[in-house]
Symmetry: C2
Subunit: 233 residues, 2 copies
């Protein structure tokens, strides 16, 4: 029984870390005492220790204990024995790089497929897709592969942003970038706006949160999916 | 005698393709009749043919002929024999991917180091740095390496954007991303705003155009470089 929450962001504007998600997480982690935290994405290059402290404080608010994977001698074993897992945001290239280097990709895939509850935010959500090819992050390290965990049959574009029609900047919009992706790839992409998330139970994928999401498929006009939509591809 | 123009963008707001650069290019390519165009970056997934047509029209305005590298049987030979070379913008991952796949990285490096004039815009400028790790593009394909041509001893962040202080979006600013890069890498990064470019003659690198550029070095406060600054690192 696969069970995931895949969130666009950990933090919405004007609110604390994970704050908007805590009621949902209290329910999602109802049977969980301790959550294994994977800090590999290191937002702004923060240390594993400092990142884990932030997460420990947030989860303490719903009486959960978080432990960083770096606090274990053996990360594979830590994943295999975890009650629940949270992978936080940061740089997706470095996250994927470390997951491969530490040899834990297959463990993570195995336990989550078997039912260990998984929460991802931002980079931690990107890796739930087929590949990390729709990340917005800068390629600051070279991972051995862009292939990720395929918990869902499409890719995530976290922090999805609508085009700014007033901008004089000539860089590509998010939609242009995703359309470019579909010149070279067929995997559908879900643009998940900040404040929205997916609830996944096995093959049932439901859009939650306060905003619609934008689904991109090759050779099709993008569509807006409303809150509570069951996503079928 | 290395001779390059490394521009942030091909196009500035409200102006035609390469238009703002044409007076500079007429001078830069004064002794050149024919320019070899490398269309591998395929902006929005446009075909090599369609992209080359746009470039041919732009260069016709200054009486230069552009020929796409795909019009030659042997791309290595095309580079070796080129009078001058222009690599256009688009997706840096796909550009670098094709340069490696077609085996032309070493040829491009060799002829430009020996004096074949080179123009890059956007992705075509990113590859002039040590690595492509400061691209803003989406990783829509997996290139065999992020290493690039090292024509200059630092990396380029093209289309550099200042933080939008009014934004409620929680995604990283460009400055945050470049600082993250410096947690893992020591190569300096030049944030080149749209409308600015570098003129390179051997080791002399001068900032040109209408805006200052922002230089990021590890463990240093970023600095603004004014127009006409000679960049020394």
């Amino acid at each position: 029984m696969k069970k995931l929450i895949i969130a666009s962001t950990s933090t919405i504007h004007g609110s604390g870390y994970l704050e908007y998600l805590l009621p949902t997480l209290a329910d999602f982690f109802a049977k969980t005492t301790t959550i294994l935290f994977i800090p590999y994405a290191r937002p702004s290059g923060i240390t594993y220790e400092a990142y884990t402290e932030i997460v420990k404080k947030a989860f303490a608010k719903i009486d959960k204990k978080a432990i960083g994977i770096h606090e274990f001698d053996n990360p594979k074993e830590a994943i295999q024995k975890a009650e629940a897992i949270f992978t936080g945001g940061g740089n997706t290239f470095e996250l994927v790089n470390q997951l491969y280097k530490k040899g834990v990709i297959s463990d993570l895939k195995e336990v989550v497929e078997k039912g260990t509850p998984y929460l991802g935010t931002s980079a931690g959500s990107n890796i739930c897709g087929v590949t990390m090819m729709n990340t917005n992050d800068m390629p600051i390290v070279y991972p051995p592969s862009f292939d990720t965990l395929s918990f869902i049959p499409f890719n995530i574009n976290a922090h999805y942003l609508d085009p700014n029609l007033n901008s004089k900047h000539m860089g590509e919009t998010r939609e242009t970038r995703i359309k470019e992706f579909h010149v070279f790839n067929t995997t559908p992409v879900l643009g998940l706006r900040e404040g929205s998330w997916l609830e996944v139970e096995d093959d049932l994928i439901i859009l939650k949160g306060i905003l619609s999401a934008r689904l991109f498929q090759p050779n099709k006009t993008p569509v807006e999916l409303k809150m509570d939509t069951v996503i079928k591809l």
